[in-house]
């Protein structure tokens, strides 16, 4: 896990997620794994800022777009990639795949691929934290989760029972101009603001620009500390603008892999990508800012990127080399072993 407020660590953590996701897309295009999947490109700063605030007693709950959350929490990219490929080297020996990836030892006990499905579970983990007097829960979910009863019911319990949980709504369908202004109305949720829903249940809320890594770091630093000290829930809407590679049903890399040069004068051929990079890419915007401020040199960033690329290339090799589980493993772990008699 990263050290808080260290620009190098923050950049490295974001680059690792981006380079991991690119390899994931390339493996899919290469036919190395079946099924649909979701990548976290364009939202990296959120998971990195949130997980920087967490310790070993804390829990993280995620959804089908979990790769970034898990990497920021400290999961090993080689075991994650093996899991995505359904290999025996994966965290669940291939049983979860990309959609349900969980790492118990890092406080990520279960990942639901149902919209809003993790939120009742996260609320229960917060109940356990309260009972045990240690730990908080960070629950990541998308804007569509607010259309589910599970989300509303979970927030009722969190508010009623006064539980230490931070609800992190990653709203990744916001036009750039609306990220600071707000007043963005979803086409399928008739709330003027997403934060109106938790506010009605007396949960304190905030909204933050998901493309601004510094704002995110400040926001999560404060909110996690409040949840920890007061033991009550908070809700934050992180307003992100969707990366153009996420617009098709299957993610794809517009203009190939992300280039560091795009942050420093060059521009990709595709106009939609160029616009997104200039206005909405949290990684690029932070790099420009930190290099201009002298926090990191371009050479240092280059070195961090090379290290991230090498690490993810290694993860791909590990995953491709890992064997598939034996067919008889399909019958294992249906139920946990236990004593039969009292």
């Amino acid at each position: 896990m990263q050290r808080k407020n260290d620009p190098g660590e923050r950049v490295a953590a974001m680059l690792r997620i981006r380079r991991f996701e690119e390899q994931c897309i390339l493996l899919s295009k290469d036919g190395q794994f079946p099924g649909h999947y979701h990548v976290y490109i364009g939202q990296e700063a959120t998971a990195v800022a949130a997980c920087a605030e967490l310790g070993t007693d804390d829990f993280v709950f995620s959804n089908w777009r979990n790769h970034g959350h898990l990497l920021a929490r400290g999961a090993a990219p080689d075991r994650m990639m093996a899991e995505i490929l359904g290999k025996a080297g994966g965290y669940a020996r291939g049983k979860s795949g990309t959609l349900h990836m969980a790492v118990r030892e890092l406080g990520v006990p279960a990942t639901s691929a149902l919209v809003g499905g993790s939120l009742p579970l996260a609320t229960g983990a917060a109940l356990a934290c309260k009972r045990q007097g240690r730990g908080v829960v960070v629950a990541f979910f998308g804007d569509a989760a607010l259309e589910e009863g599970a989300c509303y019911e979970a927030m009722i319990l969190a508010s009623l029972w006064k539980l230490p949980i931070l609800f992190v709504c990653e709203n990744n369908s916001i036009p750039p101009a609306q990220r600071q202004r707000g007043q963005y109305t979803s086409s399928t949720l008739p709330a003027a603001q997403l934060v109106d829903v938790p506010q009605a249940l007396q949960i304190r809320t905030e909204a933050v620009d998901g493309a601004d890594a510094d704002a995110l770091a400040e926001c999560f630093d404060r909110l996690v500390a409040e949840v920890r000290s007061e033991g009550t829930p908070r809700f934050v809407e992180v307003r992100c603008t969707r990366w153009p590679g996420n617009f098709p049903l299957w993610p794809e890399l517009p203009c190939g892999q992300w280039q560091l040069d795009w942050a420093f004068g060059q521009s990709p051929d595709r106009a939609d990508l160029a616009t997104w990079l200039e206005q909405s890419d949290p990684l690029l915007l932070y790099l420009r800012k930190i290099v201009a401020a002298g926090g990191l040199t371009r050479e240092q960033v280059q070195a961090l990127d090379e290290r991230a690329r090498a690490e993810m290339a290694g993860a791909v090799r590990f995953a491709l080399d890992s064997p598939f589980p034996a067919p008889e493993e399909a019958y294992q772990h249906v139920r946990a072993e236990q004593g039969a008699t009292l």
Binding site: A102, H333, L342
Partner: protein
């Protein structure tokens, strides 16, 4: 000592709260409207008030909170009240609790117990009368307990609350709450996953569970008294795990089987037992098996309509007589 089914439930909850400080109760119904059992439960609810959570009518999140707390080091019992209400929580029970151990490759366990007061209880009509065990039997990963007597209610619930490492649905039946049985304090429990021979016999096996256990015992008595047949009653005790071996052994002895079950006839518990006998026990059968189950229609309100569908001792007797008189027409397997 003689206790009622509801008292067994109340004792199991009280003793479990005292035995394990990790145990949380989400909701506080558990024993329905049985006043004796409520009085029995009351001292524990007071003593352990900090571990009993006020429950809004949010079944989905209550179930999920129980699962999440259990995954994070607690143990939890969630009161889902009337059996039909589990549908409000189905997404969490079926798609989260049941899957988490498997989906995580064995990393995560969820020792949570969902308590459900199911069954045709008189005047429940279509939306308060569901028997949910057959549906839940289709969900690998869940344990589905269907005790048919006070002794098992006590032992099996206590096992679920204190020892089980897996998500469990504990299914009581509104009309079983007042049934009494003998409980020997401190006696070991027949392990969960083992069926119990409630009554031994030679001519016919009645396979029952939950509310059909006392009705099968009543039917067995009248078959002996009025018709001279010696009838065995097998109490399944749990639908998952299902003790097929004890069923097959009983039918190997008697050669005839009636399956009495309050689920709907099609795809129900009785259908699964019948399939087991067809696949693994055909050589034992001297006559076709008979399912005495609820017809495939919703449960109506009007008392005579509900009675028309209810699995009674008389209907079990009628099914038994059909099987007992059918021997000569059964062709032996070649």
């Amino acid at each position: 000592m003689k206790i009622s089914f509801a008292q067994g439930v109340a004792m199991a909850i009280s003793e479990s709260l005292a035995a394990d400080s990790r145990l949380l109760l989400i909701g506080n119904g558990f024993v329905g409207l049985n006043m004796e059992a409520r009085a029995l439960l009351e001292p524990a609810l007071r003593e352990f008030a900090d571990r009993i959570l006020v429950a809004p009518v949010s079944e989905l999140a209550l179930a999920g909170a129980g699962i999440g707390a259990a995954m994070a080091g607690q143990r939890a019992a969630v009161d889902l009240s009337t059996g039909s209400f589990i549908f409000q929580a189905f997404a969490q029970v079926v798609n989260e609790a049941a899957n988490v151990h498997y989906m995580s490759g064995g990393q995560t366990t969820a020792p949570v117990t969902f308590c459900s007061l199911a069954g045709m209880r008189s005047a429940g009509a279509a939306q308060h009368s569901h028997r949910i065990q057959a549906m839940l039997g289709q969900v690998p990963g869940l344990q589905v307990l269907v005790p048919g007597g006070a002794d098992d209610a006590y032992h099996m619930l206590k096992w679920a609350l204190l020892q089980s490492q897996n998500p469990t649905v504990f299914i009581s039946h509104a009309l079983l709450l007042g049934e009494t049985g003998e409980l020997t304090p401190g006696a070991p429990m027949l392990p969960v996953g083992k069926a119990r021979i409630r009554r031994e016999g030679r001519d016919l096996s009645i396979i029952a569970s939950s509310i059909t256990v006392p009705r099968a015992l009543e039917a067995a008595q009248s078959l002996e008294r009025d018709h001279g047949f010696s009838v065995e009653v097998v109490d399944l005790r749990s639908i998952a795990p299902l003790d097929r071996d004890t069923v097959l052994k009983s039918v190997a002895k008697t050669g005839r089987a009636v399956i009495a079950d309050e689920c709907h006839r099609s795809f129900g518990v009785a259908a699964e037992i019948a399939a087991t006998l067809a696949e693994e026990g055909l050589a034992y059968l001297k006559a076709p098996v008979c399912r005495v189950a609820v017809p495939d229609v919703p449960v109506p309100f009007s008392p005579p309509l509900e009675a028309e569908l209810t699995v009674t001792a008389d209907k079990i007797v009628a099914g038994a007589l059909k099987v007992l008189n059918a021997g000569s027409t059964m062709r032996r397997p070649v």
